[in-house]
């Protein structure tokens, strides 16, 4: 393919090359001839950009910014061009090598589902690597150079330990797909130290990729900060709203100074990596920042659809006032834990959207939000009745958001199509167990047993049984009574039943 750049006021060939790169990266090298026209108006007050290509035609005007430094490669032009491409971009697959606990892992997020929306739920036992998958996605999407903001120590920990001291070189590859034709964006990141990385591609090309797709690689060297060439694919991703919320996502009045220096993109993913960090835009909830109008309306709409009617927004007085179950008026910080952790990430997502897409955000319509959202433990602190309904409500309220979430809750799991569930299991080849049936009709007990390998009765009665069998604890009749107490059998009735049973056994013995 060829990209021809014409302009009346872009003398620097390096800038033209950068523009070419942006288009190539954004379109994933689609082939055909492309023309990009960049014109500055005579009075230097506005820029006009037109992009023409096979199946693609887009023009846009934006005001010139004198104070922008032309030496940074006309970043504002690159940004403007990136913005002209669709926001409907979603993660298609993830491949890992020697990342955290994974020697090798390949996951697909685009499998056909009978339910609406783009959802993937990662289920697994503790230590199966659920959070690591989210971290890998966060890291891959952050890319170069922003991933470096996380700090060498954190990046270092992403590499798999081979023995007590040494770590492998970690490789992350995220493939994104945009809805317009021919868009496949491949982001690759390697984490290593002090070593030149072998030039051959780290992963074999998947057969589904057309041969013209150019593999773009990049090395991030934690020790020497190896500067790679300009990575156009991340330019394409930068315009997107990509947010990640770790299991310790937090809303407290403590000011988080550690992440103040991070770029916005890194701040919206930091809770995945740092358990003590704050959600960036939670400030609005806490009243340290005043809420902009589109944000306020958007947030109110999402909360109403997702957490209502139990939680409502009562008004804004130096921060948001919520009303819980139509009774108590509280500040965000005093919300019940479940609402607080859910409201905090929703607020953060809305604020991020308003920041990145101010034009689209004016409508304050949640259904307009395009984003990729990673949430660890989506059920965090939520009451079971809300756990049950959360995912269906989010599907309805935010249909254009791709969610990749983890959970331990069977009530949450029962809301996913079998193809949306990735069951991580270290004992299975390739670490992923394929579900051969839908679990939408399963009860929580059945999900615990079938998917999570545990039965739902408590361990205390197990202990009682063990002791009673050894003759050191309660007598068998007492344990049998405990077994028979149920919502329709009280303690007395159960006791009577066991006594009778005991008599019958004696009679039969004779």
């Amino acid at each position: 393919m060829a990209v021809q750049v014409t302009s009346n006021n872009l003398p620097d060939p390096a800038v033209r090359a950068a523009v070419q790169e942006v288009v190539l990266g954004a379109m994933g090298s689609p082939g055909g001839d492309w023309i990009v026209e960049i014109h500055e108006s005579k009075d230097s007050s506005a820029w006009h950009i037109a992009i023409l290509g096979p199946h693609f035609q887009r023009t846009q005007e934006f005001s010139g910014t004198e104070e922008q430094n032309p030496l940074d490669g006309y970043a504002f032009i690159r940004q403007a061009i990136s913005n002209m491409f669709s926001r409907d971009v979603y993660v298609e697959s993830l491949r890992l090598k020697d990342f955290r606990c994974f020697k090798k892992l390949e996951l697909h997020f685009d499998r056909q589902s009978s339910l609406k929306g783009r959802w993937t739920c990662i289920a697994g036992i503790n230590g199966a690597g659920k959070s690591s998958v989210l971290q890998a996605l966060g890291l891959g999407l952050l890319g170069y150079p922003l991933a470096l903001e996380l700090g060498g120590g954190r990046l270092q920990r992403m590499r798999r330990l081979v023995d007590l001291v040494n770590r492998e070189r970690a490789e992350v590859e995220v493939v994104l797909r945009a809805s317009e034709p021919y868009r496949l964006i491949r982001l690759q990141l390697e984490i290593d130290e002090g070593r030149i990385v072998a030039p051959e591609p780290p992963f074999p090309s998947p057969p589904s990729l057309p041969s013209w797709d150019k593999v773009r690689r990049l090395k991030v060297d934690t020790a020497r900060d190896f500067p790679p060439s300009h990575p156009p694919s991340w330019d394409r991703v930068r315009q997107l709203v990509i947010a990640g919320y770790g299991a310790t996502r937090n809303l407290s009045s403590r000011i988080d100074s550690g992440s103040e220096n991070l770029s916005p993109d890194a701040r919206h993913l930091i809770t995945l990596f740092d358990p003590l960090s704050q959600l960036p835009d939670a400030e609005v909830l806490l009243g340290r920042q005043s809420a902009s109008r589109p944000f306020a309306e958007l947030f109110q709409n999402v909360v109403r659809q997702v957490l209502g009617p139990e939680l409502r927004i009562a008004g804004y007085v130096a921060g948001i006032r919520f009303s819980v179950a139509d009774r108590d008026l509280v500040e965000a910080i005093d919300l019940p834990d479940g609402f607080r952790s859910a409201a905090a990430w929703i607020a953060d997502l809305c604020a991020f959207w308003c920041e990145k897409a101010p034009d689209l955000a004016k409508s304050a319509n949640p259904a307009d939000i395009h984003a990729i959202v990673l949430i660890d433990e989506i059920d965090l602190h939520l009451h079971p009745s809300l756990q049950r309904e959360l995912v269906p409500r989010l599907r309805k309220a935010l249909p254009k958001v791709q969610f990749i979430v983890t959970t331990h809750s069977p009530l949450v799991l029962a809301n996913f199509d079998a193809n949306e569930i990735i069951a991580l299991d270290r004992d299975v080849d390739g670490s992923v167990r394929e579900l051969d049936r839908q679990i939408l009709g399963f009860t929580s007990d059945e999900i615990y047993e079938w998917l999570m390998g545990t039965r739902p009765m408590g361990a205390a009665i197990e202990e009682e049984l063990r002791k009673s069998d050894n003759g050191s604890g309660k007598n068998a009749a007492d344990v049998a009574r405990l077994m028979r107490i149920s919502p329709d059998t009280n303690e007395e009735a159960a006791g009577k039943q066991v006594a009778e049973f005991k008599e019958i056994l004696k009679t039969l013995k004779r």
Partner: protein, 330 residues
């Protein structure tokens, strides 16, 4: 745990010219040539003919703990890929596609309890591919319900209202301790769900015995019913002559499978009336159920006649559908 009998019926997938059989032969050739054991095992054991045969052997009940969960998995009695405990034995890979190594198990027994472990009695040597001919002599801890007389070795302690499972008092000291190890390994006594269900089944059987409800007792003692050991223990003690025969059991299981099959078939007939194709999962299930029926039918003349009578009683629409299905699979 109850005694199981492996049906003698061909399984196309596992036959030497079947897809899994071919894989087995290749794995062995490869090992003899390069001394490397296979590392991946495509799950051919989930095919309908394999599952159908297992279904005919044990109904919908886990081979180990006796519960009837919603989903049953195909369990490799001897693990195929590793034997656990850090032992440098690559697993019984040559048994990955052997029917004699398969049971249906609940996900707890198969995954959580057994997993990749297969302990031997202290000091025993583990069988390898070279010594595979001596597999039957391997001193394993776990009981094989299709090989060992588990109903003679394991019994419910009569006086226990919590239906504690104990090694039979008739066994010698060494055997008793081995059986106890097998019980402990599978948590057959400490799993609270298993124990509660068994205790209630035991109570139900005892009450049926007092009331002389022999039919209920006999049904409860059928091995494809959950916790059949409870009713079996009671009958064995007070009226062993009333224990169900193999034919009774086959007939009852055929009835159950028929019920499931006709539900599926009428669902498919329904879908077709609305112009929709059957769901892929239903089709696999359907095939597995048919295989199970073929097996039961081949085993006893009485079952065959019983099934023919059941077919006669179905409405014409479902009958045609079922006949077509049987023909297609034969």
């Amino acid at each position: 745990m109850r005694r199981l009998r492996r049906p003698q019926y061909p399984v196309p997938t596992l036959a030497n010219n079947g897809i899994a059989g071919q894989r087995r032969i290749n794995d062995c050739h490869e090992y003899e040539r390069t001394a490397t054991a296979p590392t991946s095992f495509p799950p051919y054991w989930t095919r309908p003919d394999v599952k159908g045969l297992l279904h005919a052997m044990q109904g919908r009940v886990c081979a180990y703990c006796g519960v009837a969960p919603r989903g049953l998995e195909v369990d490799h009695f001897r693990p195929k890929g590793a034997v656990g405990n850090g032992e440098a034995h690559g697993g019984y890979w040559w048994l990955a596609y052997a029917f004699s190594n398969y049971f249906l198990g609940c996900s707890i027994c198969n995954g959580t309890r057994k997993g990749n472990t297969f302990p031997l009695v202290a000091g025993a040597t583990r069988c390898t591919y070279q010594t595979r001919g001596t597999l039957a002599l391997e001193k394993r801890v776990l009981l094989d319900p299709a090989e060992d007389p588990v109903e003679e070795w394991l019994t419910i302690d009569w006086d226990s209202v919590t239906a504690k499972l104990v090694p039979s008092p008739a066994l010698g000291e060494a055997e008793r301790s081995r059986v106890q190890d097998a019980i402990d390994l599978l948590h057959l006594n400490v799993g609270p769900e298993v124990r509660t269900q068994r205790s209630k089944a035991y109570e139900e059987a005892a009450r049926a015995a007092v009331d002389r409800r022999w039919d209920d007792l006999r049904r409860g003692a059928m091995r494809h019913r959950p916790h059949s050991l409870a009713a079996r223990t009671v009958l064995q003690r007070i009226a062993p002559e009333r224990l169900p025969s193999a034919e009774d059991e086959a007939g009852d299981l055929a009835d159950l499978i028929w019920g499931e099959l006709r539900m599926l078939v009428s669902g498919i007939v329904d879908l077709r009336a609305r112009g929709k194709p059957p769901r892929p999962f239903d089709e696999r299930q359907l095939k597995a159920l048919c295989w199970a029926l073929f097996v039961l039918q081949s085993e006893a003349v009485s079952t065959n006649e019983h099934l023919a009578a059941l077919l006669e009683r179905e409405p014409a629409e479902i009958r045609t559908e079922m006949v077509a299905l049987f023909r297609a699979l034969r």
